[in-house]
Amino acid sequence: MSIDWQHFTPLTSLGGGILIGIAAGLLILTSNKILGVSGILGGLFKPRPGDAGWRFLFILGLFLAPLAWRSFAAMQAPPIATNSAVLAIAGVLVGFGTRLGSGCTSGHGVCGLSRLSPRSLVATALFMLAGFATVFVTRHVIGLGG
């Protein structure tokens, strides 16, 4: 392992993380809802009466955030270098896996760890391990690159 100092962004990453924590805190303290994106999306498939509105509004805010950013400051569109077939497979795995495992990076990784949930600790450890292993295989075993 070597550290990629050139792309290392401790301050903006910490600042962005704090914003993510503030958003999660806002949602739990004002609305008693967990900021878990896969759960918020998944709940729209079988919406209970009166339970869809806040989900749509959250997703709308999330979708508009990069556009709002761009109306104040420059931001290049982040390139996605993966080919479409791999992206489609990855998307299905992310969608299915997060629903089966009841959470993703935000629900388990941020909110779950913040409330010291053992389930979320296990989930986060496992999806990170699987992520490390997958990148190791794609980059260093079969050499897919980006």
Partner: protein
């Protein structure tokens, strides 16, 4: 519940994803690439988010205890079961293949690239598969429960 807070939470969350680098596939993959040229930035995202989260959820937890009549969405305390383990592993493989998790997926839609649309449509399809297969899963669990009797 006040809907404006939900919208605001989404907006702040999305801004956090942009600022932190979580919406950059290259940065996420560089974090997951321990054997390569490792970028530890995303550990700082988690540290920032969880340090604020710990405070917020501690306050929220106390408040829930103070209001026993108020049911919380938070405390769905199932154990660590096979579903949690399998699902998290499947998600991790998808995350490692793409460098995109659900939140950044939605935020990336704002840039309108075909790749972002492909990813999000596939992700929603994966969620739909979960919903459709859920009936079989529930049925299997019920049968098992009946057999256990």
């Amino acid at each position: 519940m006040i809907p404006a807070f939900s919208f605001l939470a989404g907006l702040i969350f999305g801004t956090g994803l942009c600022l932190s680098g979580m919406i950059q596939q290259s940065k996420v993959l560089a974090f997951l690439d321990l054997a390569g040229h490792w970028d530890p930035s995303l550990a700082f995202v988690m540290a920032g988010a969880i340090s604020v989260g710990l405070v917020a959820f501690t306050i929220a937890g106390r408040r829930t205890k103070a209001l026993p009549g108020k049911a919380s969405d938070v405390s769905l305390n199932r154990g660590i079961d096979r579903r949690l383990v399998t699902g998290s592993l499947i998600f991790g493989v998808g995350w490692g293949l793409s460098g995109i998790c659900p939140g950044p997926g939605i935020a990336l839609l704002a840039f309108g690239s075909p790749q972002a649309i492909t990813f999000v449509v596939a992700m929603l399809a994966g969620m739909l598969i979960f919903e459709l297969t859920g009936q079989f899963r529930d049925l299997a669990t019920q049968n098992k429960a009946i057999e256990d009797y």
